[in-house]
Amino acid sequence: MRTSLFTLSLVSLTALACASTAPSPELLDARRAYESARVAPEARYTPDRVLEAKQALDRAEYAHEKEPGSYEEKSLAYIAERRAELAIVYGQYDADRRMRHTADAQYKAREDVLRREAEANAAETRRVLEGTRATLGTVQGNPADGQQARQRADSGNAAALSSLNQIARVEDDARGTVITLDGSLLFAANKSELLPSARQKLDDVAKALKDGAENITVLGHADSQGMKAEANPRLSQERADAVRAYLVERGVAPDRMKAVGAGATEPVSSKATPAGRADGGRIEIVVEKRRAP
């Protein structure tokens, strides 16, 4: 009886001793959790948090050695397990933030590229439009009757006439606006057929005149040198006719225009100099001043 009692107490003591040195479930959990954190890829970037977890586990282990199964051991083990979890969560959080910043930077970069492309496209479109507008600007349609149309035509005329300054003399005098073309540029000597090179100059004149409504007199002056005096009026008329006919062909309304030959009776300047004689062979296109309606 006493032996069995003694044996029983010995067994109990041993069991108690074994039981008391075994780590608590909380401590086992804490150890497992720390191992997970130690090798977790997420926690790779937060070694300081992993260290905190290790330190918490060490405190738990110490408490276990000091007094196994104590409230202190279990509490510290509980905390250590949470610290290990936290190490992984902190690591994951950092990774998320980094990913978000990278995405934001990518977004901004792509946005910049798209914006630059859009601006380049807009600039290209503007350039094309300007080109089209410039091309369209040289073509003038025939205005309809009416005051507004006439006013538009007038201001267009003024611009067009001033552009003729390069190929002709354009001046205003008592008769109106006078476009003076050198006869030698339009005709061969003593001829009334227009030279091929004359056509381009007269095209520009026609362009300047055709939208208007003023009356036009094509005045031909013949070179007073080399021809008999009696042939000059005919030549000057023929030349004026030729210019008028060509202008009609190029779109100037025929009922606006009359052709007059002035012969050699109205030289602009003295025939004493070759220049003076050249002046004598001119064509004047007189655009009458508009009378108020």
């Binding site: 509490s75 979890e85 959080y93 995405a103 977004y107 792509r110 798209l114």
Partner: protein
């Protein structure tokens, strides 16, 4: 790190308060350990971040609250050391709840940012295809 900063910010004045409470309340109710106030602060912080809306975070927030109550009970029975340990457990649970909630938010933000980049990329390639 915000959690730890909160800790330091509230700890000093509340330690003073705790000491005063100790002097005043010594005769009547048992005083609460000095880490009581920081623990409550940590629980409030987790709550404010919306921890109870996320399952894992909500679990730890509940554990924190339960252990806070247990700490109060232990303190009342004069077991101040154990009460302090219970508060430490509660505070750690609260920190975990807070970080789990924040990480869930950060993960959603990152996913949305990536989607936005994809969307821009698709718009770009769609336009090129025109």
């Amino acid at each position: 790190m915000t959690f730890l900063q909160d800790d330091r910010a509230v700890l000093a004045p509340l330690r003073a308060l705790g000491f005063a409470a100790l002097l005043v309340a010594c005769s009547s109710t048992r005083p609460l350990p000095p880490n009581y106030a920081p623990t409550r602060a940590a629980i409030s912080a987790a709550d404010a971040v919306g921890a109870d809306e996320q399952p894992r975070a909500a679990l730890h927030l509940k554990l924190a609250r339960d252990q806070l109550v247990e700490a109060q009970a232990l303190a009342q029975r004069g077991k101040s050391e154990e009460a302090s340990l219970a508060l430490d457990c509660a505070r750690t649970d609260a920190e975990l709840a807070l970080m789990v909630a924040r990480e869930a938010q950060a993960r959603a933000d990152a996913a949305r940012a990536k989607e936005d980049v994809q969307r821009l990329g698709n718009a770009d390639s769609a336009r090129s295809a025109e």
